[in-house]
Amino acid sequence: MRIVHRRPAPRRVAAGAGALGVLLLAAACSSSSASPTSGSSSSVINGAGSTFAAPMYQQWAGQYHQSVAKSVQINYQAIGSGGGISEFTQGVVDFGATDAPMTGTEKTAAQAGQGSVVLHIPMIIGAVALAYNEPGLTSVTLDGPTLANIYLGNVKKWNDPAIKKLNPGVKLPSDSIQPVERADSSGTSFAFTSYLKAISPAWASQVGASKAPAWPIGTGATGTSGVAAAVQQTKGAIGYVEYGYAVQGHLSVASLVNASGKTVAPSTASTNAASAAATYPTDLTDLTFSLVNSSDPAAYPIVTPTYVLIAQKQKDSAKGKNLTAWLKWDLATTQQNGVPKLGYAPLPSKLDQLSLAALNTVH
């Protein structure tokens, strides 16, 4: 047998590993007994929720960090409105983001979880566009009942008579329509199904409006971006996405027939028409409202605000100050004027004032 020279014996591997383990455990325990909120410093703020608003929040977070307060870092995870409400309720994020107002049950749970009254702060308005993938079809008009029938599975092909009637003279492809929807709990779904419920008795009775409705048919994708991606990749698909995603993803969008009978395409102007014509609540603790199916003749029918959920009484006052400062910055004129570039619409000034007033009650 060959004599092989061994390396010098490693020092007490077992004892060393044990000591390391004990140290790790001690470190883990000591840091978890520190601040109960996420992040280890008041200048790291965590938020989660709406994918609808994600591009705007993430851009604002980055710009704020770069040009206003270098010490403040905001991490926003787009997991859907339902996920945002849930994580906020559990206290694992500092603010939530949702396009759909919390239900009574959710509100009770959130206020219990945060130990304080929870405010909805409207931040921006956006249009829910119907993006579709039919290369030859540069524009198409749909109306509410047809849209409901598409998602109910009654209208199956692009050249269905119902669609033909709305688009006289347009050569429609014979492909099957593949509806795409949100598989996760979504405020965008809430806005979309609220519209369908308002204009289609069949939809109202069979499915109703909800963040996570029981879809009759369709492909489920995760996040607004997931829906947009699925539409982008599937010929014949149609899906509801935040308008900015359609624009920046180079997807065609359908025009809809609104409550006044006019055909309107989603745009900042048609979104503004819906938000300008609405009446707003005055209770600062419940600034929630609907913009769906507006009666204004120039309005796009599926418009929704998006809210930030914030505890009125902040657990960590330094973090709370940073958070409210950032949110107020987002509501300032310069930032609001910049939202159309991403496909959103700014808050009308009276609504902006209400949001700022609500933020002033946060302490």
Binding site: A14, V44, A229
Partner: protein, 285 residues
């Protein structure tokens, strides 16, 4: 009895079918690697490793620095947790009461645990760590990865230790060395290449995990400091996952580049593990 010609023909057909089967496995692998390289190489640059994602989602450039750092942190934690415990467990299985009831049970269930759905480990660590600390964290993510790595390291360490010839142990004992010292100074160093193989394979596996991290580390676009472990953490796999389900070409490009980095990293570890293993077996001859 069928004719020799038809039997030979069947044999040739079956050989052809076997070759076809090999192609069915190899061709997709080649395609995946080719696609990952072709679609990912465009964005590959130093800044991909040093810069986080741009805060404007549609902007090109930027990188997955947050995810790469997070993966390194959490895989390192998983390794630090799983390797000492796993190697010592392997020592027990190989050196003490190798046929005893505890050893048999542990060996059996370690094998079984290599097949746990990783999402399940994520659920467990979520209920135990995330809920009690009140936050997603790199601790939780690293712990989940460690739990996934542990069974693999236990079994590969045991195998490596068993391969150490008894002569070495007996020589040491005959010289009056205590048993634990024998293990630490003679057996473990001899088995080190085999143990390293197991550790490298476990690292490769942990680096590729996504599902458990969804529930424990949660993800983060910001570059978290190396010293900060208490908040949400990104991982390379999570960033690929999020960016791949996007309609924006810039994000899709980053996802492919991330996939290129990940696949390359995993392959490097797997090949390193294989090289260490073959070198060990050559030395033992």
């Amino acid at each position: 009895m069928t004719s020799l010609a038809s039997r030979r023909r069947r044999d040739r057909i079956m050989t052809g079918t076997m070759i076809a089967a090999v192609l069915i496995a190899v061709v997709p692998l080649a395609l995946i690697l080719a696609d990952v390289v072709a679609k990912g190489i465009g964005q590959l640059s130093l800044s991909f490793f040093t810069q986080p994602e741009p805060f404007v989602a549609t902007a090109p450039g930027g990188g997955f620095a947050a995810g790469i750092r997070g993966t390194i942190k959490m895989v390192a934690l998983g390794t630090v947790v799983a390797v000492p415990i796993g190697v010592l467990a392997g020592v027990y299985l190989s050196e003490y009461h190798a046929r005893g009831p505890l050893a048999t049970l542990v060996r059996f269930f370690a094998d079984v645990m290599t097949g746990i759905p990783s999402i399940f480990v994520g659920i467990f660590v979520f209920t135990v760590v995330v809920l009690s600390t009140g936050s997603f964290s790199a601790w939780a993510g690293g712990l989940a990865l460690g739990i996934l790595m542990l069974p693999l390291i236990v079994r590969t360490s045991e195998e490596a230790l068993r391969l150490v010839p008894d002569d070495l142990r007996e020589a040491a004992l005959a010289l009056g060395v205590r048993k634990w010292r024998t293990i630490v100074s003679v057996v473990l160093p001899t088995a080190l290449p085999g143990i390293m193989t197991g550790a490298l394979l476990a690292v490769a596996r942990a680096a590729g995990e996504t599902a458990p991290l969804l529930l424990t580390a949660f993800g983060n676009q910001l570059l978290v400091p190396w010293t900060s472990w208490n908040g949400p953490e990104a991982s390379l796999t999570l960033e690929i996952f999020t960016n791949s389900r996007s309609p924006f070409p810039a994000q899709q490009a980053r996802a492919w580049t991330g996939a290129l980095v990940l696949v390359f990293g995993v392959l490097v570890f797997s090949i390193a593990a294989r090289t260490v293993a073959t070198r060990r077996s050559r030395r033992a001859r």
